[in-house]
Symmetry: C2
Subunit: 340 residues, 2 copies
């Protein structure tokens, strides 16, 4: 039985382990400061395909295949997979994983997708509903840009608050087991909408969601930032990261020392011209799978909170003048099984 703690946090009752993980990325991501964390970098972002949409699917397939091979299993050993992406109707995932023939639940959490997938995978593995559970997501600069904003050839100016969609994918496997990293607890996000309408400032739209989830985790568990090596958010970028720390400070919670944002570290902001940072489902997913999970496995990180964030807008909602609701799901990752 899962153990509910407080209002919205759920602790694992078994040792739930992330047993394999893989990160795949594009050229720009390979050239950034996190380039060495990727298992594979594609040289032209086409991944051998003839459209960017097919490239994104191929990238997901590659990430999943890597994770499976590292674990030494076959794809059909996976008993359940959870995945989704930013493309309309999540076609990046549907076409990316169809050939693997694995029982599949589609999920949608925009850039929070890997948190949602890892949270659901952990809960369903903890309960025994699934034995080996995969979570996967991706984003691709060229598919997202032309779907959400402008045709690629248009060459529109980007505003200072805009973020650069990462071309990247992360895939991971969750099982009951005795090897770190372990999932200790998850906090499910609520949709937060503070009335932001600027689709080029998604960091501001998502920061309240991140804060809502992180603060509820601390409230539910009685833990504090001092108990963690890092509090990792998805892709708030420069603007959203500043807002998150300010929102926390108002409530007397100091996140500044422990806060790391994937959107701020995936690119070199002085040389890679990404404005407010990176974004996209693949940004947080690839750094989770390429950097943070390996660091916990190696014992260099002991406890982190991982809270990817998503902006639940669409071009249609923005064109109709709607606000941008945000959501963030949190996963506590640890090198100890522990008991709650």
């Amino acid at each position: 039985m899962s153990v509910r703690i407080g209002n919205s946090t759920i602790a694992m009752s078994n040792a739930v382990s992330v047993t394999s993980f893989s990160a795949v990325g594009g050229k720009k991501e390979g050239e950034g400061p996190c380039g060495s964390f990727f298992d594979y970098i594609d040289s032209d972002d086409y991944f051998g395909q003839d459209s960017f949409e097919r490239a994104e699917s191929a990238m997901q397939g590659l990430a999943l295949q890597n994770a499976v091979e590292k674990r030494g299993i076959e794809p059909e050993d996976i008993t359940l997979m959870l995945g989704g992406d930013l493309l309309d109707q999540c076609i990046g995932t549907s076409f990316g994983v169809a050939d693997f023939n694995i029982p599949f639940f589609g999920i949608y959490g925009a850039c929070s997708t890997i948190s949602e997938g890892l949270a659901l995978a952990s809960l369903l593995t903890d309960s025994g509903a699934s034995k080996i559970t995969a979570a996967i997501t991706s984003s691709h600069f060229c598919t997202a840009e032309r779907q959400y904003r402008f045709p690629l050839g248009y060459g529109g100016q980007r505003t200072p608050t805009s973020q650069w969609t990462a071309t990247a994918s992360g895939a991971l496997l969750v099982e009951q087991g005795d090897s770190a990293p372990f999932v200790r607890a998850v906090t499910v996000g609520r949709i937060e909408d503070k009335g932001i309408t600027d689709a080029n400032n998604m960091g501001a739209a998502m920061a309240p969601a991140a804060y809502s989830t992180v603060s509820r985790f601390f409230g539910d568990t009685g833990l504090s930032p001092a108990d963690f090596d890092a509090i990792v958010t998805g892709d708030l970028g420069n603007v959203g990261s500043r807002l998150l720390c300010e929102l926390a400070e108002r409530d007397g919670l100091d996140l500044r020392e422990k806060h790391v944002d994937c959107g701020r570290i995936i690119y070199d902001q002085s040389s890679q011209d990404v404005h407010a940072g990176g974004s996209g489902c693949g940004c947080a997913a690839s750094l989770l799978c390429g950097r943070f999970l390996p660091e916990i496995r190696a014992g260099r990180l002991h406890n982190i909170l991982f809270a990817a964030t998503g902006a639940l807008l669409s071009p249609t909602s923005s064109q109709q003048g709607m606000t941008i609701p945000g959501i963030s799901h949190l996963v506590w990752l640890s090198d100890e099984k522990g008991e709650f």
Copy 2:
């Protein structure tokens, strides 16, 4: 602990009950043969809003509010909600449920969404991860038509195999408890792609997925169609329903006597001009919540298999000449708790 049966079926280990359900629909749905099953029918499909997208969100909010009120609880008593819809980035749901302030996981399964939501809600309630779990979805003819096909004013001809997207929403609550209907088991779908590329023939694209899931349920459990009052599929329509029965017959499985398809019964095909039948997430969801769950609660149906089906295409994938992958998730609903 959940109990895995065979390859992809999971039985509940506790008595998991669907404790409340509500169906809301549009004018055409109200005029059809299932009109009396809806809790509310809107007279002009705008649900008091000024755009069809906002109307779809308002419809979802209404369905959820109804389900909550029938159960005599407050929205904040819901510990987890799962929902999604057909619109790009699932905005129907994000804007429909944001104000309820409930921990929320977005899901995407196209027209199989209510099966996916009910399956996940059941598994997470069975394990104790959630106490009162909601699942919700919707579709709206006017939002789907202009997003997937043509502007509404264009008045394009529809092919004989095309289906009519229902304007409807279904919401339900799942809890551990002692009152029928009970969820006995779920079978998670796999993505099936038989190479269909005609976006106006989604029944044909989805039938293999429905058959894959239904046949795996029978294989995993050793049960047969004779054990059920009805085998209900989502929205295969006339073409897909015929294909499903043919696929089953090839394997010596006779579904014809027990098979009911929501897409075939939601409209009067002789007078409502819907060609191959109804479709959309709301079609199966509203008939599940408005017709089948009440019939089980009343003891008029004892055991049914409910397998909504989804076509995982997007306009972009179709324009790029891609095939249409399908998926179907199955839920065994019963008026007895039973033991597996």
